[in-house]
């Protein structure tokens, strides 16, 4: 079994920042594991700008922001493996990994940093009633299809949720020639950044309806329409306010959930509010030597804050490893 001082699970901004910081703090034997075919995580599909204002004092696109860290990782000669999926982490920090070239392997680490990021809430989590046609997809999935695969996902679009990815996609799809008819937010204020409300909705005359949700989805094969309704103080749709809006696509931008299935396999305790691991001031979980940072810990509004947090995790994991010696 191969041994590492530190294994970082996830090659997005959190994992990259943590690995680089651990190296700066004297840890030699580091491995970063990434399930996709390249490093950078979800930043690779975020081709809009607005990243890095706080860390680098300039406005970068997602791929540019990621590239800075990927370059640094390579310069520091930190070992990484892409196309590598972690199946399990044991509480004594043995990781079961698979890779399409090297097959199944067990590796052992003195310390582990969890940096798996998060996933999007789906329609099922919201229990939106109606039929189940094609054309209902999360904002991140739409973003991947448009920006990575290069395909459009619909022509007449309604977006539920005013999270940042949804707002970004409202603009992106408009620029691709789609008609974004409406953005709905169940709360009485938008959940995304103000600058995104301005730059992605207002600049393109896309209406935002607050205190509104979707109460029905229609269409057997492809979405044909959605029913929009105002909500009462308990966030339930008010029947008398229902309005049917023709569209072929419903995009959901209704929140992110830290992805902690692997954390649980290692015996890491999860906070029921944040859905992330319970950590101390060193970002260490209840399992000694397992740390967490980035969106796997809690969902961040800005990648800059993920980076700052990843530096803490990298430094504290380095301290932990050095103290073992």
């Amino acid at each position: 079994m191969k041994n590492y001082d530190l294994v970082v699970v996830g090659g997005g901004p959190a994992g990259l920042g943590a690995a680089i910081k651990a190296r700066e703090n004297g840890i030699e034997n580091i491995l970063v594991l990434e399930r996709d075919h390249e490093l950078g995580g979800i930043l690779n599909q975020c081709i809009h700008n607005g990243f890095g204002l706080h860390v680098f004092n300039e406005e970068l696109t997602g791929p540019e922001y990621a590239e800075i860290f990927v370059e640094k990782l390579r310069e520091s000669k930190i070992e990484y493996r892409t196309n590598t999926f972690v199946l399990n982490i044991s509480n004594n920090k043995v990781l079961d990994i698979i890779n399409d070239e090297t097959g199944f392997e067990k590796i052992e680490a003195k310390a582990v940093i969890l940096a798996m990021g998060c996933r999007e809430r789906s329609r099922g989590a919201l229990k939106i009633p109606g039929t189940r046609p094609s054309g209902v997809l999360t904002a991140g999935t739409a973003q991947r299809l448009v920006n990575i695969n290069g395909y459009n996902v619909g022509k007449e679009i309604v977006i539920l949720g005013s999270g940042d990815i949804g707002l970004i996609m409202a603009r992106r799809l408009t620029l691709e020639g789609a008609k974004v008819k409406l953005v709905l937010e169940i709360m009485d204020k938008p959940s995304g950044l103000e600058r995104n409300i301005n730059q992605c909705l207002n600049d393109f005359d896309i209406p935002l309806r607050l205190s509104h949700t979707i109460s029905d989805i229609k269409g057997n094969d492809r979405v044909e329409s959605v029913v929009v309704a105002q909500v009462d103080e308990n966030l339930n749709p008010i029947k008398s306010t229902e309005e049917e809006i023709k569209c072929d696509t419903l995009i959901l931008s209704v929140g992110l959930i830290p992805e902690n299935e692997l954390s649980k396999s290692a015996g890491v305790l999860i906070d029921s509010k944040s859905n992330g691991p319970i950590v101390d001031e060193n970002l260490e979980t209840n399992v000694r030597g397992i740390f967490a940072c980035g969106n796997v810990l809690h969902v961040h509004g800005l990648v800059d804050n993920v980076t700052k947090e990843s530096y803490i995790a990298g430094e504290k994991a380095a301290d932990y490893i050095k103290a073992l010696a």
Partner: protein, 476 residues
């Protein structure tokens, strides 16, 4: 000229076809959808009932009890997930107590083995999360759970391995009874057969009424469901019913063969045979009913909601047999619950019926009851994982994170007989998109793989039905 044409490839049509493939016959299956098991077979409670529910001496009673006993063998032969965790019918008051004793008696009459009546204390030992008001229960040791569409797909694959032909996207428009054969007109041309079997599910009335003067009516009866995450799997370990009503066996809380929890269905007769919408008020009704059976059901771990349509005949029983006025035309209609449980017995019975009508039929000497074992990456040992990735690196590429499904499994399920052609077709067979993220990560990748393997443009990959397109063209 075919010996037999089977209309419909749900669990019933698939089972009949597979039984017919034991004989040296030319069999053609016509399916109007783009996949097998796309109707009632893919949206139901996935239960193999013990058989105490059906009125004694009905088709339902006869086929259910026999069918139940046949599941172990067929699921072993075809590598289909099946378990017998047993089932419980809960009683909350004195009237339920009587119902439960009646069910017990009915079960004995129907020949159901392994029945017993439990008091609350015995019940709590089996199911600690049982509701506070439950006082009594009927326990049926033979109650089972199965992957229903997986069984139908496996049956059709095996039937095709043994020589049966399947035409998808082929909708029957008219049937002409000729002297000793049937001319079946479809949107894809005409086909002729000596025997015609109607296994058209919700549309079995339309098919029957094209050729027989003994008209039948099939009404869709909708049931809605919750599917909960595997994180909820310790909630119950058996199939938990409430006392049945006239129209349905009531709201069930049950584990699935894959470790999820299903809650549902209700039972409402509707007008539209394609209306598979869910409704907030009906889901709330199911939720409140279910919480009487089982405490603390984590509805916040809901993965998806869905509606299934039962094909309910106005006779109240299965309609199985040769139409009185049309020789060689066999109806298998009104197959609502316990249709899945009865499918093995119905398949065998109808196949025998067809063979008897044809007369002088030879056995298929090369019939193989087994299909090629599908490899489930997640179930392999560490060494087996290494070995398979060495052989085919696609098994080392995990496409679905929630269910740990590899690219190798997806490619395999597309290439088999009765293989997947759509995103939901892949999902039904090897489960990417069945998990908690509902395809958020894997859907674009599954579209890429389908496009590559079927050699069609990305835009032509459908979610499910023929018009359920996902992409609308290239970006600028």
């Amino acid at each position: 000229m075919f010996d037999v044409i089977v209309i419909g490839s749900g669990i019933i049509g698939s089972y009949i076809s597979r039984e017919l493939s034991r004989y040296d016959l030319d069999v053609l299956v016509l399916e109007k959808e783009n996949d097998v098991a796309n109707g009632t077979s893919k949206a139901n409670t996935a239960l193999v009932h013990a058989g105490y529910d059906a009125k004694p001496n009905t088709n339902m009673a006869k086929f259910n009890v026999l069918g139940n006993s046949m599941f172990d063998k067929v699921c072993d032969e075809l590598y289909v997930p099946f378990k017998r965790p047993g089932s419980l019918v809960l009683g909350f008051n004195d009237s339920d107590k009587n119902t439960i004793h009646d069910l017990y008696e009915k079960g004995i009459k129907n020949g159901v083995p392994g029945l017993s009546i439990l008091d609350r204390k015995q019940l709590l030992e089996l199911e600690p999360n049982i509701g506070d008001d439950v006082i009594i229960a009927l326990h049926a040791a033979t109650g089972g759970i199965v992957g229903p569409w997986e069984l139908a797909i496996a049956l059709m694959e095996n039937a095709m391995d043994n020589g049966v032909s399947l035409n998808l996207n082929t909708e029957v428009i008219d049937i002409i009874k000729q002297e000793s054969s049937f001319l079946v007109k479809t949107n894809q041309g005409e086909f002729e057969s000596k025997i015609l079997i109607n296994a058209a599910g919700l549309f079995a009335d339309t098919i029957n009424n094209m050729v027989s003067n003994e008209k039948i009516t099939i009404n869709p009866v909708a049931g809605e469901y919750f599917l909960l995450d595997k994180t909820a799997q310790n909630l119950v370990s058996r199939v938990v019913f409430q006392c049945p009503s006239e129209t349905s066996k009531g709201v069930v809380v049950t584990p699935t063969v894959h470790g999820n929890i299903v809650v549902g269905p209700d039972s409402i007769e509707i007008l539209e045979k394609e209306d598979k919408a869910t409704h907030k008020d009906r889901l709330d009704f199911i939720k409140n009913k279910a919480l009487k059976s089982i405490k603390n059901i984590p509805f916040n771990e809901n993965i998806t909601n869905f509606t299934g349509l039962r094909a309910s005949s106005t006779t109240g029983d299965f309609i199985i047999g040769e139409a009185k006025d049309v020789k060689g035309f066999i109806n298998v209609a009104g197959i609502k619950s316990p249709g899945l449980s009865s499918a093995p017995a119905i398949g065998l019975y109808v196949s025998n019926l067809a063979v008897n009508i044809l007369g002088d039929v030879k056995e298929n000497s090369s019939f193989n009851p087994r299909r090629k074992k599908p490899l489930v990456f997640n179930d392999l040992t560490d060494d087996e994982k290494t070995e398979i990735i060495k052989k085919d690196k696609k098994y080392g590429n995990i496409i679905c994170r929630c269910e740990t499904v590899s690219e190798g499994e997806i490619v395999d399920c597309i290439k088999r007989n009765a293989g997947a052609t759509t995103v939901d077709g892949v999902k039904k067979r090897v489960r990417p998109g069945m998990g908690r993220c509902q395809g958020g990560f894997c859907m674009p990748r599954v579209v890429e793989i389908l496009s590559r393997e079927l050699n069609i443009p990305m835009e032509e990959v459908m979610k499910n039905s023929k018009s359920s397109y996902i992409l609308t063209g290239r970006t600028k």
